[in-house]
Symmetry: C2
Subunit: 425 residues, 2 copies
């Protein structure tokens, strides 16, 4: 038996590594900074307000009207002149102004108009008599609690005025923002286009779920998890066909990545990470930054540019792939959508168990989250952190960030974590 | 001028209220419990794995295979018999087993097989010699660090075994779960159907964004905000046409709600909340619980059943509508999707400013969130809490929960909050 051709690929792989002395290991932050520097926000597109939720505004949303447009009543009651609203005063009801049906006349001396919450305050009136402070008998109303001029009146423009930027640019649109944009009279919004992300998995051993599994093979999981992550983060994923482990096959699939905003690759793990991916994409013009990142789980990370398409190469190991995706792909997708560029959001938490001193690689401990009796977030790393355990990754609520050379910490110490349980990833 | 017919509606409205003495005011928790008791989880449907993200599993996902399916190498290196792996031992390389290409023979005495991460450990071998602990010269490998039997071998089933419930029922599917379900060989998943929610807004004064606004009118915002909230929470919203303020018009639009899983109404605010909605839906068989909930912002809440369709009536005020939606509609949608029923998720936070003692109505103060130098979440309520200020609601990061009769609290005190900024609502 022979190496079956893998020896020569190993040589190529080893040569790549030889160019990367251990001193070339860069930090997670540096890798992220270099990735973000190679990306740019997507241009704008117009979407219907009904489709704008969770998109990112490409420009400020300026109010097209003033809200409320006129002075309106904040309560159910009666509009009158404040001077007429002393205790036991009697007023004549000359009309009603339900919301949407403003009273067209003016309120004169001794007169009043029935109002409801949101009703326009009629001309002449400068006070509101609350319903519960009024005795009504036919067309007459008697004041049982003296009014105060201006009270219970919402002034025109109290919420916003025409021209106000009610939503800033670069904001992910919430349900409340949708309501606000509607109130500001916007049926359409200008948002950043969703980044279209092509996902390329490689490997002779990979089968799609439900399809025949070759001997020694496994079912593809990375592509599907990454596609879901891209969707969760507001991108538009496309899963390319699985490429076999040859330079030619990978190059052929890479040809389908033209026009995408980002190509994400995983694996090529048969003879180490990225070797075949690298040689395959190089035949299509890939210009590459090829790093070792001082992190765990995680292996060499590939970032580069293939023609106009940025390429992010993730490890083939499913746990490493998802952790690297959280650290690098998530910020990439944020930047491409017009959100501020930077590390993924972190929170402070309390260790539920001691952790050992760390070595020179930043660690990302998979952990469960509980809340203690004081309402504090407690993170407890799993005792075994094997990067092949996808089931354990799926059950993790958080990644505990351990800096290179971080000292041992006792239970109760404060640590910084990335929450997975509240992020959809 | 006359009441234009509103006098009679006011009488009807007042009569409704008369049936509700102040003692009938119920708590937020009781209202929520009664709403949840009137709802049930949606039945299951089958979706493609690629569409399963953020859906809720209707049954446990059982692994269809064992992962890894055989003992595999955790590292790049060589498979051998442990007894052959002493320091300076020389072994003959008889083949290679890249992932997906298992070595078909057996490893005999003095023999070794080239392996890579994920490669199946060949028959006969019980140890892995790491690549960095091996000197290779042609077809010979020399051991530079003695091996340990079993080390660097991932055992069959280490991640999961065939039949294991790798994802529980009633779980919202994350990107990691999608990867796990794929690895467990599931191309389809059984999930709870999305609740189809019809949204009915009423009001003569309401215009759709971009359409002509009647005199004294405002632009519809509630329907759009609620539709986005339903979508954010995993439901399928349908915005019904805006009904004019007549019993007949409301009844006619309500006829379109048959077959939906929930009808959500807002407003009817021209003569107080719910009166016209109530009389309109009653002509279509609405059986109603009609409450005053001891809360602010918020007004009487309607819950009932119209034929087979549960009906949740929210206030017409946009801020009240969204706060009530967070408190009642969000848990309703969770239950209908098969998630555990209960109040919306809360977290503990530190007050950034003092708050006054509360009265008998639970308050929900709109607040900003910052993180202090100790990493604690600090919430600072807006000084003005006017329930008509949609712009302010949109800029709120959290609702600070204030129980009925809660005492005044100084800055620095702990409070319970609902985070809005991380929820998509």
């Amino acid at each position: 038996m022979t190496d079956g051709g893998f020896g020569s690929k190993l040589v190529e792989f080893t040569r790549e590594y030889a160019r990367m002395p251990q001193s070339a290991m860069i930090t997670v932050d540096e890798a992220r900074t270099r990735i973000l520097a190679g990306l740019h926000p997507m241009p704008a597109e117009i979407v219907a307000l009904a489709n704008a939720w969770n998109r990112v505004t490409a420009e400020p949303v300026l109010a097209r009207l003033t809200q409320p447009p006129s002075d309106v009543s904040a309560m159910d009651g009666y509009a009158l002149r404040a001077i007429d609203g002393g205790l036991r005063a009697a007023l004549r009801v000359i009309g009603a102004a339900p919301a949407g049906h403003p009273f067209e006349g003016a309120v004169g001396t001794g007169q009043t108009v029935r109002l409801f919450t949101g009703s326009v305050v009629p001309a002449g009136a400068d006070a509101i008599l609350l319903q519960e402070d009024a005795e009504r008998l036919g067309d007459t109303v008697v004041v049982t609690e003296a009014v105060v001029a201006g009270r219970h009146i919402r002034r025109a423009g109290q919420d916003f005025s025409k021209g106000d930027a009610v939503i800033a640019a670069g904001r992910r649109i919430t349900a409340r923002d949708v309501g606000l944009a509607a109130a500001a009279n916007h049926p359409w919004l200008s948002v950043h286009r969703k980044p279209r992300v092509a996902i390329l998995a490689t490997g002779d051993e990979i089968a799609m779920p439900g399809e025949p599994i070759p001997s020694g093979g496994i079912v593809s999981s990375n592509s599907h998890a990454l596609a879901a992550l891209v969707r969760a983060m507001g991108g538009e994923p496309t899963v390319l066909p699985v490429a076999k482990d040859t330079t030619e096959a990978i190059a052929a699939v890479a040809d389908q990545a033209g026009g995408f905003d980002l190509l994400v690759t995983t694996g090529g793990a048969s003879v180490g990470d990225h070797d075949l991916v690298l040689s395959g994409l190089r035949t299509r013009g890939l210009v590459v930054d090829f790093w070792q990142v001082a992190m765990r789980p995680g292996k060499p990370l590939l970032f580069g540019q293939m023609g106009s398409v940025p390429v992010l190469g993730l490890p083939g190991n499913p746990v490493s792939a998802m952790v690297c995706a959280a650290l690098f792909l998530l910020p990439a997708l944020a930047l491409m959508q017009g959100l501020p560029a930077g590390p993924p959001p972190t929170v402070s938490a309390i260790l539920g168990a001691p952790v050992k001193a760390n070595d020179r690689r930043a660690d990302h401990l998979r952990a469960t989250v509980t809340v203690d009796e004081r309402g504090r977030v407690v993170v407890t790393p799993f005792p075994v952190q094997d990067s092949a355990m996808l089931r354990r990754l799926a059950s993790a609520d958080a990644l505990v960030l351990r800096a290179p050379h971080a000292p041992a910490l006792p239970a109760g110490a404060e640590v910084t974590v990335i929450r997975l349980d509240t992020s959809g990833i």
